[in-house]
Structures are given as C-alpha cells and as structure tokens.
Symmetry: none
Subunit: 230 residues, 2 copies
Amino acid sequence: MSESPYLLIKRSIADGIATRRYLPGQVLPSEPALCRTFGVARMTVNRAMRELAAEQLVRRVPGVGTFVAEPVAESSLVELRNIADEIAERGHRHSATVFVLAAVTPDDEQRAIFGIAEGPLFHSAILHCENEIPIQFEDRFVAPSVAPDYLQQDFSRMTPSEYLLRVAPVQEVRHDVQAAATPTGIARHLDDKICLLVTRLTWSGGRLATLTRLYYPGGRFRLTERFVPK
Amino acid sequence: MSESPYLLIKRSIADGIATRRYLPGQVLPSEPALCRTFGVARMTVNRAMRELAAEQLVRRVPGVGTFVAEPVAESSLVELRNIADEIAERGHRHSATVFVLAAVTPDDEQRAIFGIAEGPLFHSAILHCENEIPIQFEDRFVAPSVAPDYLQQDFSRMTPSEYLLRVAPVQEVRHDVQAAATPTGIARHLDDKICLLVTRLTWSGGRLATLTRLYYPGGRFRLTERFVPK
DNA sequence: CAGTGGTCTAGACCACTGT
DNA sequence: CAGTGGTCTAGACCACTGC
C-alpha cells in the first residue's frame, strides 16, 4: 500500500518536518541527492516533492532549491473538526494546556441562551498549540445535561471537541466569525494583538449544548472553505 | 508558460467538464487514447489526469476507467452571495462607489496563480455601503477571458458578483478568512483599524477566474454560518 | 560555470476489472 | 483475455539561480 517509493520519500520528508528535524526555511536535500539516498529515479523523487509542495509543506524555487515552508495554520468553518485532528493531519504536534475546568454559576444572559432555570454550567479554558506555537484559545461553556462527566475529563489528553462529539450528538451548529482586538489576558497566550474570534453554538436534544469562543491569532491563522456551487 | 502539454491536456478536460461537453458520470478517454490524441507519452497524460483527480474533477477507478465526478454540492451555508441582495434582505439600502476599474499588468505572482503567460488582468476596487455605512471594501482581479466586457460595466448599478455570476459559471470557490490590521488606504474607507479579510478565489473552466479580497470592518461585521452536521 | 527544479519520453511491470 | 489505471526507470532538454 504505502510502500511505493514516492510515498516513502514523501513521508520521510513530511516526518522530518513534523519532528522538526527539518526546520522552517531550511533547505532540503536536492532531487539528485534524494535519488542517491533512496536509490530511485528522479521522476520518483520529483513526484514526492511536487506533492509536498502542493500540500504547502515545502516551497520549491527553481534554480535554488526546496525549503521547508513556514507553517500556515488552516481550519474549516463548515465542519465541526477536532483541532487535534487538524493539526495531526498537517503532520504537526498538538498540545493543550488546561487553565480552567470548573462548574460556574451562569449569569442571567447565559441562563437565557442555555434555557436553564437554575443549576451550574461547566466552564473550560484551554490553550491549544501546534508544534508548541499557540494556535487557539478555547473558552467553552457546556450545559451539564449533555455531558455530566465533563469536569472529570483530562483535556490535555483529549480535546473537549473530541469528548463532546462522542457523548453528545450535535444537531445544529452556528458559527459566527469576527475580527477583534485580542482581549487582554488572552493576548498573553496567543501573542497577537489581533484575533479571529469564532463563536460557536451547538444544539443537542433541542437545547443549546455548548457556547464556545475560539480565539485564533489573526496573523498566523486562516479559515478556509472550498466548495462547489450548485 | 501555460503551454506545457500536461497543462493543455488538463485544461482541455477541465473545459470539457465546465462546458458540460462531458457530463457527470460519463467515461473520459483512456490514457492511451489521450496519448494518441495529444501525441504525448503516457506519463504526461497520467500527470494531467492524476491532478484532475486530486482536484475532484474526475474519479479514477483502476481497471475500469476515468469518469467525470458528480459535483458534490455542499451546504448552502457557504454561499456565493451578492452583497446587494444580502443588504436588501435586511431591508436596508445598498450603495456602491467605484474607485478603480481598469486593466492592469499582473505581476509575476498574479501571473502564476491565474496561469496566464501574458496580457492584462482586470482590476476593480469598490466600496459597498449599507444605509451609507461602509460595510465592505472589495478589491477584485478578474481574468479577461472569463469576462471580456468587465471594464464596460457600471458597478455602481450592478455589483461585480452579480455580473460575474451571470457571465461566468463558477466551478469552484475557495474562501480564506483571516483577521488583520486594516491596510492604510482601506482603513480610510472602512473606518476601522481591524478588519476581517476574506480572500475569495473562484475557478471557471478549470482556470482561476477571479481573486477577490473582501475587507469588512472588524467591529461592525460578522460572518455567520448555520449548519447541521452529517 | 555547475547546480537547481520543471518537464518530457518511450519504454516497462503490476494489480485490477469486465467479459 | 484485453484493457484500465498506478507506478517506476534512465535517460533527456530547458530556464533559472548563484557564484
């Protein structure tokens, strides 16, 4: 399956980038060099490198060489994706730091939008990093009824998205995107004065299940959608 | 530059699909057949078809053949909307000011992404207002081949989106959203230091048709998507 | 100048499908 | 079985860059 030479070469390079054996901006071995290393024809090496370039993992400059690309994070608006999966698909390492994980007493506005008369809400605040670089600050409120064991999870090992997608079937999602000045306190983590703020509401069982504010560094992050019009 | 055989073959097939000369599900000529038609080696045809498959324009089945892909019309959430319509639906008044409408000589990067060897690009810069309040600054580049009469239109009466949707059937759209500091010059019009920058690429006939940068005032604007997960 | 990537050729072998 | 796509080879020519 995956033992075609061009795939082996692709993975070898991709792994080297993921493990930071090759650092952004660094020159990669030339095509003739890779031919010798892997004992294959140049067309085989070329295909591997061409595909890596198409996937934005490397940047090729004719007459100069092939370089490890600066990582440009990317995400989707129309899908509920687990950020750990997205990062893994880019061949990078995900890590999470949990700042808050507790029950809170909702204010009137929260009570209204969650449609609850009384009782607590669960609150979590987590910083997600891609290769140790902060990429998303996640501020989340969860209705206890949809995930009673929310506070017992270890969210440095499994993201809230992953957990919630398992225990609470999402019926409807609403995303709201705006550009904003990064709130002080979050700016400290994201290291960017401007942020992309995605507010995500999910409904489960007819009731609002989660309210999440996702803060992305404005300069380092992109939301991408690709679609075919009807 | 764009006359490499594999690109010619790619475009020939992509055009055939765009113009519905090849219909979804239909079998395309086999690789040996295309070799004879274009007088090239099989590797050249193979690369063209492999890239079309990667772009989801065709579906390849080993041992069977290559077929025109069924267009996977995705969610109505991400839509190509005409801003004038959106404003009208809110019961507000739309107005547009045209700042630029001219042919320009593309730089190397633009030439590369539009895949054109020579000739001009059309450029327009338009400010859209909702009830006289600036809501979107639209900076647009259009390939002349998809809209030869672009420069003759009165875009204070009809938006470029509306015009282009009429004359150039869009095959694919890619949206890229980021938060950014409003470029000086545009900040003057939008009256906001932070903006939501939506970069929209559209493809028609297998070629990049338009590159549009939509600048929205960060504080006054929200992008909203609502959808039901699969 | 030697080195780089971009592209192409004319063969080849393979696994797979439909008949 | 003949036909399909998936992959590979060992050469080749070109335009480009840096020295």
